[in-house]
């Protein structure tokens, strides 16, 4: 996993609530056995019409937002399916941070497994960032160490993040390696469980 420290990038506004993971990456792109190459499926039904042609109205297709690294969006982003293909597709497309008023639990969790930063801000702050993100040459900056988002006009908004998650994100740490350091505790737990719930052994 790549470390996330600071990001200076164009931000694309997508002002809709309850964008679910089926919208982020529709099911026909879930049949892969790889983590890479999912950018082609990102927001597929927004980005293309029924014939598969590019929809020029969709924000990420507009020239002003080419190369956007931040997505600013409505409440409850990432609800629905647990598919980790959603953060994979965002990352593969070049989105490294998503700003919203709230995220669905499983999606939020999946972001941290992949170095995609979900940022929760207040409704009026998200609105201001969306307003400022309209049009051409703007850069939104996110500093994870300082826990701040700086708007193109220089307004600074502070966000909250779990200190553990922040530390792992800053260093790009692998959770499995960390957990395996607790292997003796897992062994002990399993020994106790085998005595207390023998019917779960050797099933």
């Amino acid at each position: 996993m790549e470390a996330f420290t600071r990001l200076d990038a164009k931000a694309a506004p997508l002002p809709l609530a309850n964008i679910d993971t089926d919208q982020i990456i529709p099911k026909q792109f879930l049949k892969t056995v790889e983590r890479k190459g999912l950018a082609k499926g990102l927001f597929y039904e927004y980005r293309t019409d029924e014939q598969g042609r590019e929809n020029p109205d969709f924000v990420l297709n507009q020239p002003a937002y080419k190369g956007a690294g931040v997505l600013i969006t409505g409440d409850n982003f990432g609800c629905g399916s647990s598919r980790e293909h959603a953060p994979w597709a965002l990352m593969d497309f070049g989105i490294k941070a998503v700003i919203s008023t709230s995220f669905a639990d499983i999606f939020y969790n999946n972001c941290f497994q992949n170095g995609l930063l979900p940022v929760v801000l207040k409704a009026e702050e998200v609105q201001q960032l969306m307003d400022e993100a309209r049009g051409g040459n703007h850069v939104t900056s996110i500093d994870l160490e300082a826990q701040t988002v700086t708007s193109p006009s220089g307004a600074v908004f502070r966000f909250e993040i779990d200190p553990n998650r922040k530390a792992k994100m800053l260093r790009g740490l692998d959770a499995i390696g960390e957990t395996l350091q607790a292997a003796p505790s897992i062994d002990l737990y399993e020994q106790k469980r085998a005595l207390a719930q023998p019917w779960l052994e050797g099933a």
């Binding site: 399916s81 639990d105 499983i106 959770a175 897992i186």
Partner: protein, 470 residues
């Protein structure tokens, strides 16, 4: 000191270690399927890690499988990518020694139907699966929720999950429901009440006399839809209904172990003096047969209701989403929902494909005919559900009424296999998500109970099941 909730008790019984406010939680049962695991196994290999407890892992093939011709096996699956995913799962489970019910095995079916049916799902357990509807298993008083693929890899390697504890939310449903109203209507009513993000950060415990009165199938439907309200997990405390369901199933404890298990399971209930962070109470008697009008499960109205106006929503992004939903669904604000004609009826999915669901739909279908021009399909949740339904003659009832009787799988719930809506088609569906494109690009989904879906098939439009009750 306040007592503990059911969730607190399961949590406490599974904490292996706590590091900096994050707990390592032991996982008792890991269910896996073909779609969310290939990258996890690839990760294990890349890091030269093994599967810690293959015996606590069970694999099925469900999302991708076609619902006909399953006896021909995986090699006959026409979709090349789907076939590759299924073959990849077959190779992975063989390499790591994980039990697998492949396509065509009578025990195969939708992962959330198979776990309980096999007696694998038990009270007091922690259960995870790379699928958000893992919340289903909470019906047994197990802490069960969906995880992403990185976490699947984590569980395969360590049999644990790193977690922060959620808050406690109790939903009490009290009283007697009116005829034609059941678990699906309760679930939709709860989501309509709290919204799709209302449960975010919580584990929901369902309680109250109406929940106690539900069968295991009904409790599974209720817990299944918990994720649509934003909570990862739903719970119902185990009771005699639970124990009776588990007894005698293939993985249920046998002999002396049964008594031992029973006394353990009976410790999982919420203490009288436990405190919940949030609580709501619904009166079952006031819940009507429910149906969704929009593209989010919170877009719920009673069957007697009308499609709402976007202006009735309180925030700009919600108004924008509602306007988009109306356009997508081809509906007009103010129209009666029963005026919406349906093209397809889908009875199936991990929400509603169990024997009781099929019985409820068959009771409406019996002696009637599917309306002209409507394609109606019934997809049992597993090979064993299909066999039981056939033994009861339900397949004949459906076929005589003009329904297709198909082979088990996720089918049209998510459009990852040949069962899909075409653009503009409207479906009455017993599944769990009415998202844009969920059942096929441009498809328009209305969620409802199995009996309501059967009624829509007969009427040719969304209909009030109460008009069909004899």
């Amino acid at each position: 000191m306040a007592g503990k909730t059911l969730y607190d008790k399961i949590w406490d019984a599974h904490v292996v270690d706590t590091q900096d406010g994050e707990s390592i939680l032991y996982i008792d049962l890991h269910l896996i399927h073909e779609v969310t695991t290939p990258q996890a196994f690839a990760g294990l290999r890349a890091n030269r890690r093994g599967v810690r407890r293959p015996d606590r892992t069970l694999a099925v093939a469900d999302h991708n499988v076609p619902t006909e011709g399953q006896a021909l096996g995986v090699d006959a699956v026409a979709d090349e990518e789907a076939r590759l995913q299924l073959q990849t799962l077959g190779k992975n489970v063989a390499e790591y020694g994980i039990e697998y019910f492949p396509m065509g095995d009578i025990r195969n079916g939708i992962v959330h139907v198979v776990g309980p049916e096999q007696g694998r799902t038990q009270p007091g357990m922690t259960i995870v699966c790379g699928d958000s509807h893992t919340s289903t298993h909470g019906a047994f008083g197990a802490l069960a929720h969906g995880i992403g693929t990185s976490e699947v890899e984590h569980v395969l390697a360590t049999q644990t999950l790193r977690q922060k504890k959620a808050k406690n939310f109790r939903v009490r449903i009290e009283g007697e429901p009116a005829p034609g109203v059941g678990a699906k209507d309760y679930a939709l009513a709860v989501i309509g009440e709290i919204g799709t993000a209302g449960g975010t950060g919580y584990v929901i415990e369902y309680a109250g006399s109406a929940v106690r009165a539900l069968s295991m199938e009904g409790r599974m439907t209720l817990c299944n839809l918990t994720i649509e309200g934003g909570a990862r997990a739903g719970l119902v405390a185990p009771d005699e209904t639970t124990f009776e369901y588990i007894k005698g199933r293939p993985a249920a404890p046998k002999g002396g172990a049964w008594e031992m298990a029973l006394s353990y399971w009976k410790t999982f209930f919420t203490d009288e003096d436990a405190v919940f962070d949030r609580e709501i109470v619904l009166d079952a008697a006031t819940i009507a047969p429910s149906v969704t009008w929009g593209t989010s499960p919170e877009d719920v109205i009673p069957i007697t209701g009308v499609v709402p106006s976007p202006d009735s929503f309180d925030t700009p992004d919600k108004r924008a989403s509602a306007a988009r939903a109306l356009e997508y669904m081809g509906l007009t604000a103010g129209q009666k929902i029963t005026d919406a004609k349906v093209d397809v009826v889908f009875i199936g999915s991990c929400t509603n494909s169990r024997i009781e669901d099929l019985r409820a739909a068959a009771a409406i279908a019996e002696g009637r005919r599917v309306a002209e021009g409507v394609r109606a399909m019934v997809v049992p949740g597993s090979g064993l559900v299909a066999a039981q339904a056939e033994e009861e003659g339900l397949d004949e009832v459906f076929k005589a009424a003009g329904f297709e009787w198909r082979e088990p799988g996720c089918s049209m719930c998510l459009g990852m296999n040949p069962d899909k809506l075409t653009p503009g088609q409207r479906s009455a569906s017993t599944s769990n998500r009415n998202f844009e494109g969920r059942q096929g690009r441009g498809g328009r989904t209305h969620l409802m109970s199995p009996a309501m879906a059967a009624a829509a098939a007969i009427a040719g439009h969304i209909a009030d099941v109460r008009d069909f009750l004899k």
